[in-house]
Symmetry: C2
Subunit: 223 residues, 2 copies
DNA sequence: TAGATTGTTAATCGATTAACAATC
DNA sequence: TAGATTGTTAATCGATTAACAATC
């Protein structure tokens, strides 16, 4: 992977993990770390870590390793944590409310501006200080505030329309928590990132089923 | 990929997506589908789909394609959907409650047996018909009922201990929703599947930041 | 039968790992 | 300086794509 060449999704998916691990090291008071130590703690090879970082530039010092603070800072910068991203939540049901209350948006560089719903029981209220507006007023608010990301926790049947409206209103990304695969045209420039609980549980289901098989029919390693 | 050889994680991660897409096709009344049509609808190549399915056997008919019903059934079987898996939830806070109320465990072949928490305000109550016990009684219940998976929605600081107790009590998998990377020994045979919201949002953050850059400095395609 | 599409092997591509000179 | 560890290129490995005979 040459520097500045297009970064593969495999690398992109590891960046947040690096960031998380470095945060933990930082909290634990670790000042410097080598690629091999970091790799061991994350189940990666030293080579892979150096290769990954090489995509973005040289953040270490030969003979010394990486300074935890500054590497964390660099990766945070790459991830766009200091860009003042903003976000709105569509769907203030159980999951939407839980995320509004629990999730540390600001730790990830996002400011949560508002939530939208259609239920008259929640419209007009606040959830953890976040105002809930009626969905009818979505475009109105997005015309006034720059909103980078729309978080979708609407019912599956409402997901596509909600996504379309957000995309039309100019958001740059959709964070999709519905079990629906959003259909957003490639050339729209809107990025979709989905969190599919079902996919995750079914993958786990597969893995434990395999595990069981392996335990029943023990190791006939084909030599 | 030879048949019955170890299946790569890339393939495992696609299986639930196939299952989901086939379910949608089924609902739409589609009876048969070719690998190329399925591929187009999912953004994959026909070749990749055939190669993936080849890991598990021949589910299609030459000259015809795949019957949606039976392929869905086969993939469901591979994923272990009919194995009567069971699950308990640890942590009945906002997120835990939202999942208990919203998530269709049974659609994914899981029966939710109970939830556990330490808060006296929720211990002894029911959430959507699911009883909430005190964490102290975890081992007691797991000694009586076979529990395949423990879902972790406890606070980050409680995650490792909760995971350890579940593993010791014999669960086969941990479905981890905390932002903590569980440390479970490889040889324990316990599979960990994590849903890291932060990682997902940061990946999205990276992608929209790139998108912005691309729009500002338009296409100097190097010919 | 002719046409379509799979199952399966071979070729290509990309990601990971290895190696080592550069240098702190 | 000597030792350690990075940055970076080269080699290897694995996943994806292409090709095509088999066959419905």
């Amino acid at each position: 992977m040459k520097r500045n060449a297009k970064v593969s999704t495999a690398v992109i998916r590891r960046l947040p993990r690096y960031y998380r691990q470095l945060s933990e090291l930082q909290e634990a008071g670790v000042v410097r770390i080598s690629s091999s130590a970091l790799g061991k703690s994350m189940g990666l090879t030293a080579s892979q870590i150096r290769q990954d970082l090489f995509c973005f530039g040289g953040f270490g010092q030969q003979g010394y390793g990486y300074k935890v603070d500054s590497l964390k800072g660099e990766i945070g910068e790459i991830l766009g944590i200091n860009q003042g991203h903003t976000l709105v939540v569509l769907g203030a049901g159980n999951l939407g409310r839980a995320l509004i209350k629990n999730f540390k948006f600001s730790s990830n560089g996002f400011q949560l501006l508002a939530a939208f719903d259609v239920d008259p029981k929640v419209v007009g209220t606040q959830i953890a200080g976040v105002p809930v507006y009626h969905m009818d007023r979505l475009e109105e608010l997005l015309a006034v505030h720059r909103v980078d990301v729309g978080l979708l926790t609407v019912p599956m049947a409402a997901a596509q329309e909600a996504g379309d409206r957000l995309a039309a209103a100019g958001v740059k990304g959709l964070w999709n928590f519905t079990n629906y695969e959003l259909n957003i045209p490639q050339d729209s420039g809107v990025v979709v990132e989905s969190v599919h609980f079902s996919d995750s549980l079914l993958a786990l289901s597969y893995m434990i089923s395999q595990q069981e098989k392996a335990e029943k029919a023990p190791e006939e390693e084909p030599q």
